[in-house]
Symmetry: C2
Subunit: 441 residues, 2 copies
């Protein structure tokens, strides 16, 4: 018997604001951060690692919320917890006092994501498999049993979900073999942050094309003239056939979104991402109708499965960009993948940040193998930074994620990274705090 003996949650912050990595029209100065959960067991090889992603201030709030969420796990038998991760998830999420603080959204939901991500990591380690493989080895019934279908039955019943998964069963193995050859296709956002100069933009785009990318993404929405200039540079560098995506990070009202996107239509964007409030199902539907054939994409701030259900029901989006650290881990993500399959919307997960690429590779591979069975219109985000802090970093070659092979969810960070970037007393931050307080007034 292995016991979950303790939970540790670390406030880890990387100073990305110093280089304008991650700058966009809404988020000008993020310090990419993780509320990083370690579920310790009396067998260290079974420890579970997970996190949610934030951009700096308030990461400590997610740490506190994650500690509280994980607290009922302490002292429990790991097998009992892991043998029925559907029941474990429901136990944690139905704490009615904590539920009031959402429900199922905001800080409390980010904390659920962090804790359940650590449990899924532990489950995959126990099985000796990478997470995508653990999921791909589960039967349709087992998968549906762990999926959170509450509030979804008007759009997807349990029986429909099982039937969707059964369709793909006979061909799972062939798709695994295929991906082990080709990898899973990705695109890069590394080039297109708003804070970069035109020269840097052009150089990075050229490098992306040279590295085999057929999709690139630019941040837009701060200034229309600049957006036109930057989109023109992008088309010059990537040519007419490669795909250009644009991302406004929620800066517009609905009428303004329609007007602005139409002004960029000449650059033939594949999608406009986050044109307005992530909560606005009907707004996205209106924008989609107005800017077609340009697609509408959203989801990195999609708070829960009920929002995605409505996005699908209202035919509001062409691309679903669910987030692996904002939805409540596999239990809720599975439900969104099943809905997406039912409504025939491709899922192109949000990534970047800290460690999101490490997580989403598992999701995309599992989706292709067991749910959608399709790569059409699917491409997963990749941002090339902060991977050096992970024990099992994702590997991208020729514009594709290589299939991960180590047991777990690829979420474990190096202890040296935690020691350096823990806030505010890790070595990196402590030094800066000392400098700041030592300066004369």
């Amino acid at each position: 018997m292995t016991t979950i003996t303790a939970v540790e949650v670390h406030d880890v912050r990387f100073p990305t604001s110093l280089t304008a990595d991650g700058s966009d029209a809404m988020n000008k100065d993020g310090d990419y951060s993780a509320a990083y959960v370690v579920l310790r067991t009396d067998d260290p090889a079974l420890n579970g690692y997970g996190f949610t992603f934030t951009i700096g201030r308030g990461n400590d709030i997610c740490v506190l919320a994650s500690e509280q969420r994980a607290q009922p796990l302490i002292g429990r038998d790991a097998d009992d917890v892991l043998d029925d991760l559907g029941a474990t998830y429901r136990d944690l999420k139905t704490d009615s006092q904590l539920r009031w603080l959402g429900p199922e959204k905001g800080v409390e939901h980010l904390a659920m994501a962090a804790v359940m991500n650590a449990l899924w990591d532990m489950a995959a380690r126990r099985a000796g498999k990478p997470l995508w493989r653990l999921l791909a080895d589960m039967s349709p019934e087992e998968l549906v049993d762990v999926a959170d279908l509450q509030y979804l039955s008007d759009a997807l019943t349990r029986d429909e979900a099982v039937a969707l998964l059964r369709e793909q069963m006979p061909t799972r193995a062939a798709r695994i073999a295929e991906l082990e050859q080709t990898g899973y296709p990705c695109y890069t956002t590394s080039a297109g942050w708003l804070g970069y100069s035109d020269d840097k933009l052009r150089r990075l785009l050229r490098e992306a094309v040279d590295e085999g990318y057929r999709h690139v993404k630019l941040k837009v929405g701060a200034n229309l003239d600049e957006d036109i200039r930057r989109c023109r540079i992008a088309r010059e560098e990537i040519g007419p056939d490669a795909k250009l995506m644009i991302d406004a990070n929620q800066v517009w009202d609905v009428p303004q979104a329609i007007e602005w996107v139409k002004a960029l239509a000449e650059f033939d964007p594949l999608w406009i991402e986050e044109p307005t409030s992530p909560d606005d199902v009907l707004g996205h539907a209106a924008i989609r109708r107005a800017v077609a054939p340009i697609g509408v994409a959203t989801g990195e701030h999609g708070m829960n499965r009920v929002l995605f259900k409505q996005m699908f029901q209202a035919e509001a989006i062409d691309f679903c960009q669910l987030d692996s650290a904002r939805l409540a881990s596999i239990n809720e993500i599975l439900a969104v993948y099943l809905l997406a399959k039912k409504f025939d919307v491709p899922v192109c997960p949000h990534a970047g940040g800290v460690g999101l690429c490490e997580l989403v590779q598992h999701l995309s591979i599992f989706d292709y193998v067991a749910v959608s069975g399709s790569l059409e219109n699917r491409v997963t985000e990749f941002v090339d930074h902060l991977h050096e802090h992970f024990v099992d970093p994702c590997i991208v070659e020729n514009g594709a994620y290589r299939v991960p092979s180590m047991p777990g969810y690829s979420a474990e960070m190096h202890s040296a990274s935690i020691a350096e970037y823990s806030y505010p007393f890790g070595t990196y931050w402590a030094e800066r705090t000392l400098q700041a307080t030592a300066q004369p007034a």
Copy 2:
């Protein structure tokens, strides 16, 4: 010049779970709590008091979030802050790092509510007026300037909002005079908690009728046979003409909600409240179409104005039950009232909890005076507990809130209550903690 010198946030929890006050199908054991904000100034008469409401665990997370939200106010000139509460609100809400944790939902949004509630309290104290009067004395342009209209322009433009408010200008004074005579009509939920016995239910209903209430509300959703029995008791006690509302606190999926509500239709409910996930705009619309003429009500968990905009656009609700401590104070609440007026949906604010009745009396009075100009289909919740902890408690007589007259937002608690119920080291909780730890294993 008056300076905002400090922020204190108290974790105040009342042990309501001991008596089953507040028990419903989703929330069985709430300890009604407040993250209670005191914005201190160097003139103690100008201190601002505000809070958000929770039901126990996690209240400490809201405390931490409120401290961080209020931090930029410390050291600022109170007049600068209060003279443009629209700008102050936008400054606080656009912190991009904290925004990531929502955006505009969950713990971070509850904290915005707590802090902005304290600022509006301070503004009313500075003016020497109760808050409803401060608002009722503002011009349409001044009101629209403080309202948060971001993401709403597809449903309501600034010019439309000004025009709606101008319509009511000439008759504001007459409605104030009327309410000072009659009070604002309310209904009681005090009778209908799920945890109460049939005898207690019957006795409380009889008392409610005797006290002049024409509307009562029952909690439903745990067991259909029991709901039928309890609704029958209610009709026996209140008669066929008084209004009966039922409240499921989000326990159903959409198809189940429709089936269950139809099974209770014989008791002629005025509305079904929170039939499903509070996020499900399209679900509420489907339920509303199916159960008409029974009305659909929701909003106490309505996370922000974008959700309410969609509820109105989709014709999803008959009654809007916005929450004074979940929406980001007057700035956002005003926007929802303006939308409700445009779409002709009555607002019947959620109350109860800790201090929510104290807040909503100001909102309902202001709505009648300056926005809707109507009492038709409007009735504001009242729950008769915990008022003794407030310096300026609401007063209900003959089924109506009396118009408050003291300066401020009626949010200030007695310091003795804070000393007793602060968690975990106030006298009430400290004693119980000592007892628990002193018990033999």
